[in-house]
């Protein structure tokens, strides 16, 4: 019997493609929503439903860590630690930290979380976890809209003596947040953009904004 040499060219989805599918399935809600910034939008990304999912968290770690390494190489910077504003950044930062550790436990990233406001007693800490003054830091956020939460984290990290290497986000909603952060001199590298998530023209916000 002659075995067929014809093979079907079925390409296995990459980790990034798998992550995109989970994100679309779990986190994208349609409707008319008021976002944290007060602007209105016809889609909402509840990224925590993805970043807290074990399978997706593995993918966030793999994809995010590759992006961190690639960006750090391109910008010729060393990275000591990774973190962002609680709670959007927390699962994502930890997933990337675990992926880094699995690749090389000696050169692992340290992971931390930034409180929205400083504790008012004890050591008055705003940053919890593994962070040291002088660290070269990757700031993480799950979703960037106006950039407000990312900028809050940047301010707290800089105030605590950290140096911002760059920012990574799971989703850039492409609504000016990336520009707001880059105006402060920090490169933003999203894993996904709005166009990748819901299509280039879909979900354009209504521009009903509060001052």
């Amino acid at each position: 019997m002659q075995r067929s040499t014809h093979s079907v060219d079925v390409k296995a989805p990459t980790p990034k493609e798998q992550l995109l599918e989970i994100l679309k399935e779990k986190s994208v809600c349609r409707g008319t929503f008021t976002l944290a910034s007060g602007t209105q939008s016809d889609f909402y990304v509840d990224a925590k439903l993805t970043t807290s999912n074990p399978r997706a968290a593995l993918l966030v770690g793999r994809v995010g860590w590759e992006l961190v390494k690639q960006t750090a190489r391109a910008r010729n910077v060393h990275i000591d630690s990774i973190g962002g504003l609680t709670m959007g950044a927390d699962w994502m930062a930890l997933s990337i930290g675990i992926a880094a550790h699995l690749e090389n436990s000696q050169a692992a990233l340290r992971v931390f979380s930034v409180r929205k406001s400083a504790k008012e007693h004890g050591r008055l800490k705003r940053i919890e976890g593994n962070f040291s003054s002088g660290d070269s830091v990757v700031v993480v956020d799950d979703v960037i809209t106006t950039g407000g939460s990312t900028i809050q984290a940047i301010d707290a990290i800089e105030e605590a003596g950290g140096r911002i290497a760059f920012v990574i986000a799971l989703v850039d909603r492409e609504e000016g947040g990336r520009e707001n952060i880059e105006k402060r001199g920090h490169k933003v590298v999203p894993i996904f953009t709005r166009a990748e998530l819901i299509g280039a023209d879909a979900g354009r916000r209504s521009h009903i904004a509060v001052a």
Partner: protein, 111 residues
């Protein structure tokens, strides 16, 4: 307190409507004012109102209608209290109606 430098920007912010981010920022400033100024109770209540409302909005897909329900009346009442403070009035009697509005909006009344 006419021409009060710390109150005028808050009134200006409130005039643009509320959002989760704005409530967080207002809450933070009210917290500072509670510690810095004589009207401790007033600012403490204002901080709590903003913080609780911001927490209710945080991390949720809040529909436009639901957002309107949750925030209805809050900005106006806070602005009214701040204007009283600017004019040197205590505004204590306006705190309970504000908290009642917050509880009503959030559906927290159990009685």
């Amino acid at each position: 307190m006419p021409g009060d430098d710390r109150i005028s920007p808050l009134l200006s912010a409130l005039s643009g409507g509320l959002s989760q981010e704005k409530l967080e920022s207002l809450g933070s400033e009210f917290n500072a004012l509670a510690q810095d100024r004589a009207e401790t109770l007033v600012f403490f209540v204002l901080q709590n109102v903003c913080q609780r409302l911001a927490s209710a909005l945080e991390g949720e897909a809040v529909s436009v209608d639901r957002f309107e329900e949750l925030t209805a009346g809050i900005a106006d009442q806070i602005a009214d209290i701040l204007r009283d403070l600017q004019q040197g009035n205590a505004a204590i009697n306006k705190l309970e109606p504000l908290v009642i509005t917050l509880f009503r909006n959030l559906g927290l009344f159990r009685r």
